[in-house]
Amino acid sequence: MADPINTIQALNWALDDAMAADGSVILLGEEVADPEGGGIMKVSQGLSTKYGARVRSTPISEMAFTGAGVGAAIAGMRPVVEIMLMNFLAVCMDQITNHAAKLRFMSGGQTHVPMVIRTMTGSGFQTGGQHADFLEAWFCHTPGIKVAMPSNPADAYGLLRGAIEDEDPVLFVEHFPSYWTPGAPPDRGKAIPLGKARIAKSGKDVTLIGYSRSMHDLLAVEKTLGADGIDCEVIDLRTVSPLDMETILTSVRKTGRAVVVHEAVRSFGVGAEVSARIHEALFRELRAPVERVASHDSPVPFAKQLESAYLYSHADIERAVRTTLQS
């Protein structure tokens, strides 16, 4: 068994292997080149030394360098743009939602934007209301862009390679607090295509659906419930948009019960969409209404006790599962 690695190493390998395989892959972002530190989390460490001008540290001008990614992509490059934190996407939304996502359609297919926007987020480090939000629903609500959210190092590698190879713009969301969590190493050189979920654990009683951070919680809760004789099937969406409904519906058709869990706030979130689609497709086969577990509908608070109260707990997930089993 190969030694475990963490997500930072996995992402670095993915970028390195993609740049070695394809000369049109370029990196743009704040501090991404080696003289500036190789990225705030060192994800791109060593790459500017190896690939020169293809790795560019930018001014703190998200609108300009995200737009530059759009332009370079139209001209045939494959830019990987790093937005340091997910909340900062708000300052370059116009380039992402009005341009990257729509240019293929608005040009009648004459141009397209094969660009990846890497970003990170997650509560737990007391970074407060502007450094920890999960905003994926904004982008899932925009046709034309895909959203990938890996939960472990091997998937981070494979999905980033898949995102870079994809012909559409991809928002690639990394979970900040689990960057250092070790996991199985990736199959280097192999991309995971976007739009395919993974059965992380098979079971027969209830389907637990998560992505990014919530997978760590689901796999822990699944063990606790297993000890009580509840056999959970756990699905890692991997790509939040487009949703792999085939995998979700096949599972829920079997179990008749589903719980969707995400760190993003509850209202108008990915959980609502997944729940709605399950109800639309399987209303008569469901044995209980689909449950949602998510963060509290408030900004991410600073103080530790508030920040902890903001995020769902393992007890919340267990309670939701038991609720579906009571029906």
């Binding site: 300009a64 530059a68 332009g71 001209a75 040009s107 009648g108 994809d166």
Partner: protein, 325 residues
């Protein structure tokens, strides 16, 4: 004529582009008023000189990024008017199959890469097109057009800074038509000259009479040579005026009395025609032939547009992603 001035064939080529812009614009408006074209239309009547004089210095390999008031830029750059007509009429033969419309016309074969409906948003994208050319060692340049109003949005400032720091081969062309929608330059802009803002970014700049094709040509030639030679970007401010307001139907009540009439009296279109004849760069016969040929071209382009089949509604599912969902 010094070395920097265009020769007679070039001067006539500029006029030919101006005629195509003007006659198509006149016809778009008449078709809107007749109810045959249903669309928001931001006419560039009055601003013809600027892209006409710049475009004679460009090839199809050079990139253009323009804005909602940009059909003059597209025609000058070489987007076939018949594809524009079909696009505006919502036809399958339109440059974007009727899926973009007047604010998003795209035609990569002639270098028209992006047309945006968001003020200022084209400039960051132009930086990226230029970055791609720079990384590949290509000699092509990127021209990005915008109005005076766009010089007050963040994208302008971020893009000028980025282009200057990276010495990108971009020419920023501010077509200053004195009004940002309905707000005058003086009320919304801190500097008297937008070109002065280049100084903040240590960028070369030029301030020219945008109604004088020779002045625009000279400034553009220097900027394009600078960009092709790897010496970085330039901001050109070309002063002009829009004769049809912000949007067709604009009654212009926000303008001081007399401003419109004074500007119209100095309409650069007939002025340039007279200048060509007075300075013997062309003959009445040659110009009349250009005008007649162009009028026939407009008839043909319009007929092509209206006679083409409407885009099938199934197109709504195509081009959202590379593959249908």
């Amino acid at each position: 004529m010094n070395a920097e001035s265009p020769d007679a064939p070039t001067l006539v080529a500029i006029y030919r582009k101006m005629v195509a812009i003007k006659l198509n614009d006149d016809r778009f408006i008449s078709q809107i008023k007749a109810g045959r074209l249903i669309m928001p239309y931001y006419s560039a009547r009055g601003q013809e000189c600027i892209p006409a004089a710049i475009s004679v210095l460009l090839t199809d390999a050079d990139y253009l990024v323009t804005i909602y008031r940009g059909i003059h830029d597209m025609i000058a750059k070489g987007v076939p008017p018949k594809l524009i007509w079909a696009e505006l009429a919502g036809r399958s033969t339109g440059s974007c199959k009727g899926k973009g419309g007047p604010m998003h016309i795209t035609h990569p074969q002639s270098g028209c890469m992006v047309t945006t409906g968001v003020v200022g948003a084209g400039m960051p994208i132009a930086c990226g097109l230029a970055l791609a050319a720079q990384l590949r060692g290509e000699k092509r340049v990127t021209v990005t057009n915008f109005g005076d109003g766009a010089s007050n949005i963040g994208a302008f400032h971020e893009s000028l800074n980025l282009a200057a720091v990276w010495k990108l081969p971009v020419i920023f062309v501010c077509q200053n038509n004195r009004y940002a929608e309905h707000t005058s330059l003086a009320k919304g802009t801190s500097t008297k000259r937008i070109s002065d803002r280049a100084r903040s970014y240590d960028m070369e700049s030029a301030h020219v009479d945008g109604n004088d094709p020779v002045a625009v040509y000279r400034a553009a030639k220097a900027a394009i040579e600078r960009a092709r030679g790897g010496a970085g970007p330039t901001l050109i401010e070309a002063t002009t005026f829009r004769f049809n307001g912000h949007l067709i139907g604009d009654t212009g009540e926000y303008m001081p009395k007399g401003e419109y009439q004074t500007a119209l009296a100095a309409d650069p279109y007939p002025r340039y025609r007279n200048w060509l004849l007075q300075n013997k760069h062309s003959t009445t016969a040659e110009l009349e032939k250009i005008e007649a040929d162009t009028a026939a071209d407009v008839d043909a382009a319009m007929a092509f547009g209206f006679d083409s089949p409407l885009t099938d509604v199934s197109e709504i599912t195509r081009d959202v992603y590379a593959s249908p969902a």
